[in-house]
Structures are given as C-alpha cells and as structure tokens.
C-alpha cells in the first residue's frame, strides 16, 4: 500500500466477535491508525462515543442479536464518517442506510482501506 489514507487516524471498531476483532485490529494497525477503540455492542459503542472522538468508524451491522443502527445514528449526529461491515452484504442493510458504504465480510486489507478512504472522502 503506497499511500495510507487512514494512517494517524483514530478509529472506532464495533464488532461483537472477538476473533474477528483481532483481524480488524491487525489490519488497522498495519494501516497506521493512531488509535483503535473496540466496542462489542451498541451500548459499549455509545458509551465510547461519549468519551472519545474518533475520526472514523467501522460497524458490524449485526451485533449479537441487535442491529448497529443506533450507533450509526449517533455517528451521523457527530458527523463521524463510517463504513458498515456485514456478512449479509448490501441487501442485509436496512433500507434507510442503503446509501452508506458497505463491505462484505470476509474482506481483505485492500478492500477495507479503499472503503475507509472513500468514507473520509480521500
């Protein structure tokens, strides 16, 4: 990866599966992110957003039986760009969020960085 558009950024990762979160964390570290905050549920993510100010977020849509949409709404309010990640693909996203960036799990680092770069407009 020649340019690292997310290098130095603080990023919120909302992912309920620990093993998958290791992978995301590794990828983001490799991409040079300055700070990575992990949340495993909507409540954890909303709590984190009260204290922290990430530049960017990566949201798993389905979090152990709940949808991540309340987090997405909060991110919109805070004007923090984000990317959905889901095993369902785009059709698994609620209609009001269809226009958002979605990456299909599993994905490689290149797919992730392209989506994140697009989210921050880079």
């Amino acid at each position: 990866m020649a340019a690292q558009p997310v290098a130095g950024l603080k990023i919120l990762v909302v992912e309920d599966e620990a093993i998958v979160s290791f992978l995301l964390e590794d990828m983001l570290i490799e991409l040079g992110c300055a700070e990575i905050w992990l949340a495993g549920s909507v409540a954890q993510a909303l709590a984190l957003l009260r204290d922290k100010a990430p530049d960017l977020a990566l949201l798993d849509v389905s979090l152990a039986g709940e949808f991540a949409y309340p987090v997405a709404e909060r991110l919109v309010q805070l004007q923090i760009p984000f990317v959905f990640a889901t095993g369902y693909g785009r059709k698994g996203i609620a209609s009001e969020w269809q226009s958002r960036l979605v990456i299909q799990k599993p994905f490689d680092q290149e797919t992730l960085v392209l989506a994140l770069a697009e989210a921050i407009g880079g």
Partner: protein, 482 residues
C-alpha cells in the same frame, strides 16, 4: 246432462274455414243435426283423416256437453283405450274451456290409464264456435311429457347435487353472469371475503376491497375476474391482496375462468380464490433462513481468516498468509454469487468477472472474456471459481498479468447434442515473460486436475507454452438446464 247418441260425420256441407278450425255438420244417431268439429290444418283436408292419426300428439274434440266427438290414434294411445264417440269426458281443462269459452294453454295434468299407470300430460284446449259465435264444443291437443318431466327433475337433482358439492368444497368459489353480477358463492367464499356477498348486486368480485401486490388500490372492474369476462379468456398467474371489512389483508391468487354455452357464447364466469398467506409466510421464512445461513458462513469465513492471520503472523512469510487469505476470499466471493441466486445457479461470466476483479484495475482491456450465457450448478460454480482463481493468481505472479504487455483471453462455448451438453473453456495467456514449466506440482495444478476431473467428471489440460500458459477445461452440463 242430456245424453244423446254418438255423433258421426255425415258430410262437409256448410263447411267454413276459420284459422285452423274446420267446422262441419254432423248428425246424431237419432238423426238430429249437430255441428261437429275437429282440428286439423288446411292441408289435413286434402290428406284426410289419416293425417290426424299420424300426428305425434293426442287430439280430440268434444261437443258443448263435453261428449267425445272424435279422437286420433295418439290420443287413444295416451289414454290407454279407445273411447267411443259420445262418451262423457272428465278432463278438467276441457271442462274449464266449455264453462268459460276461453282457451287453456299449457295445462299440466296427470292422467291415469285404465291399466292404472299414470302419465303427465301437457294440454292445450281451444273453444269452438259456430258462425253465430255460439260455443259448440272444444278441441284438445295433448302430449305425454312424463319423460321430459322426469329428465327435468333429474337435471334439477343433478344441479342441486353439484351446488351441494361446490358448497361443501373448502375452496372459495363464486360465479357471475356475463355482466359480472354475482350469481353464486359458496360458504368458503363468504368466509374468505369476511362478508356475505349480495347475489345479483355485487359485481366482479365477492371481496370487500382489492389491492395490487404493491399495495395500490385495484378497482373491482379492473380485477382479474373482470378482465376474464371482458376479454372472454381465463386469467392465470395473477395475484392480488384482499381486504376484509374488518381491515384484515391477505395475499390471494384468483383463477377466473369464463363460462360459455353450447354455442360458445359467454354466459358468465367462475372464479376460485386461493389464500396464499401461508405460502408467502413460508417463502419469507425460507428466505430468512437462507440469508441467515449465508451470513453465518460469511462470519465463519471471517473468523477463519482471522485465526489464520493470528496463527501465521510472524511464523511464515507474509506471502503465505496472503495466498491463504486470497484463496479464502475467492471461496467467499463465489459464495456471495451463489447466495444472490438463492444457491440455485451462477453465471460463468459473472464468476470470471469476480475472479478477475482484483486484477482489472487500470488494465481492464488486457483481460478479454468471450462467450454466451452459461448457468452453472452451485457445485460446478464453486470448483470452477477456485480453479480460475488459481490460474489468475498464477498469471498475476508469473504469467501474462505480471507484465505490462501481457494479455489474457478466456473464451467458452457450449456444444449440444441429443445426449450431451458440454462446456469448453479456453484460457490463453500471451505477452508475458517466457513461461517455464513449474518444477513442483502446486495446489493450483492439483485442484485443476482433481476438481475438474474427479469432482466434476470433466477434463482439464494445462500447457506451459513458452509464449503463454494455455489451459482447456471441458465439463458436462446437465441436459435440463435451459
């Protein structure tokens, strides 16, 4: 009543013709002149009394007192005896005519023959007048309608039993006339509609309200039944949403079918309404289930990807980890493809485009694809996608896709015969660095061999020509696949 002797025809003097009634003079046995009458057609005169006997209906005449003047052969047959002229007759229609002087039309009566058997007859009686307008007697035409009545009763019984049958069916059925007015509905129909349809008033459909599948209102005069009647043809494959008066809605399939008489003229239509809520629910459930399975497979693949990353990190060269991840992601992509088609099939061209997606950026024109639409079974799609991924990876590392001038052409065609449908795929690289035959058999070559030949029962050949790798793959497609 004065009873005089039998009458006999003595001549045709003073004969007048008025309509079909011919009057003639006759004398009683005692010599007293009396007008006698009988009915026949004008032509009957020429043919004589024989014609009267050949008529298929019973005819007799009586005088003013109701005494028999004459009868034909058929009348005797129907009575079961041949009464003598002058016998007093008791048939009431004739009595009525003699009393009122007015004709009687289509009167049904049951007569009992001398042998005790009974017959239903239909009688028409006309009074007979002389030139002065004096009632002189009556003529009766009658016919046996016993069989006709029996057939009618049978028909009514049959119709009733068909109605009972329709009524008992658990399917919602109703009929309309040619103008669409409801003429019949069964219990199941009223239950489905959630209302009591009004016969002769409700038009086109027995339901309260109808909507298209997208929720737009459907006026009754545009409903499938109305179309069937207006176009005089059965409508199939339509779907509508029914709203009951209580507001409940459910999806339904109608089966409107025109009814025609023996001449083919449209006389109405019959419709059966099938509530498909359960089917729709089952379809949604199945779809949700497939979605869930797909989602879990994807999450599991993501977990495997992470486990491999965690396990291999720092232990093996990154290239190994990357190769593993690329294979896993190739498998994942073909899963997506199949999931989008509900795991029914996948298009070969779509698979190829997916495989080449990582290599097309900025050099799309260097990869050429050519061939018609070919649907592959999930099994063939998975194996072929993995094989193609290996070939593409190899081309990107060592072959045509590793050099700026290299090109890759993939063409395919289907050869069909009565027994076989064979798919031939040709992979041709050119313009890359000189090709060397690999020293060891890698995963790609093994998969090509076993995947295509053992798993799919096809044939695969790979040639490491110095000017470019060449690969041909032949697999048999199912015959039924369109």
């Amino acid at each position: 009543m004065e009873h005089r002797g039998p009458l006999r025809v003595v001549g045709w003097e003073g004969m007048t013709v008025s309509g079909n009634i011919v009057e003639a003079l006759g004398v009683h046995g005692d010599g007293a002149a009396s007008p006698i009458v009988f009915l026949t057609l004008k032509r009957a005169l020429a043919a004589g009394a024989g014609l009267l006997d050949s008529l298929p209906i019973g005819v007799y005449t009586c005088d003013r007192e109701g005494l028999l003047v004459q009868h034909n052969r058929k009348a005797a047959e129907l009575w079961g005896r041949s009464p003598a002229p002058g016998e007093a007759l008791s048939e009431s229609p004739m009595r009525d005519v003699l009393a009122t002087g007015r004709p009687v039309r289509d009167r049904e009566a049951v007569v009992e023959r001398s042998d005790g058997s009974r017959a239903t007859i239909l009688a028409n009686v006309d009074p007979l007048f002389d030139d002065d307008g004096t009632l002189i007697g009556a003529v009766t035409c009658f016919q046996d309608i016993t069989d006709f009545k029996r057939a009618g009763a049978l028909l009514r019984d049959q119709e009733q039993s068909f109605r009972d049958l329709l009524e008992a069916l658990p399917a919602a059925i109703y009929t309309t006339d040619a103008k669409g007015k409801v003429t019949f509905f069964n219990r199941a129909a009223a239950e489905l509609a959630g209302r009591e349809p009004k016969l002769g008033e409700d038009e086109w459909c027995i339901t309260w309200r109808l909507y298209h599948s997208d929720g737009m209102p459907m006026p009754h005069d545009e409903c499938p039944m109305a179309q069937a009647l207006k176009r005089n043809e059965a409508i199939r494959g339509a779907e509508a949403i029914v709203e009951r008066p209580d507001g409940a809605r459910f999806p339904m399939i109608p089966y409107p079918t025109p009814l025609r008489d023996a001449d083919g003229k449209l006389i109405g239509a019959v419709n059966m309404l099938v509530d498909i809520s359960e089917r729709k629910k089952a379809e949604l459930q199945q779809k949700a289930l497939v979605d869930e399975v797909n989602h879990r497979v994807k999450n599991t693949l993501a977990t495997v990807q992470s486990l491999a990353g965690q396990t291999l990190r720092g232990v093996v060269p990154n290239a190994v980890r990357d190769a593993f991840e690329a294979r896993l992601l190739a498998l994942s992509r073909v899963h997506d493809l199949l999931a989008r088609q509900q795991w029914e099939c996948a298009e070969l061209e779509t698979i190829l485009k997916d495989v080449f997606a990582p290599y097309r950026q900025g050099r799309a024109d260097r990869i050429r694809l050519g061939g018609g639409a070919v649907r592959l079974s999930p099994r063939a799609a998975l194996t072929l996608a993995m094989v193609l991924h290996e070939l593409a990876t190899n081309a990107a590392k060592y072959g045509a896709l590793s050099a700026p001038e290299g090109t890759l052409t993939v063409t395919w065609r289907v050869e069909e015969s009565s027994q076989n449908r064979d798919l031939h795929i040709e992979w041709q690289e050119a313009g890359g660095p000189p090709v060397e035959v690999p020293r060891a058999t890698g995963f790609g070559s093994k998969l090509l061999k076993r995947g295509i030949e053992q798993e799919l029962g096809g044939a695969a050949r790979i040639a490491f020509d110095p000017e470019g790798v060449r690969c041909t793959i032949d697999i048999a497609l199912p015959l039924s696949d369109g």
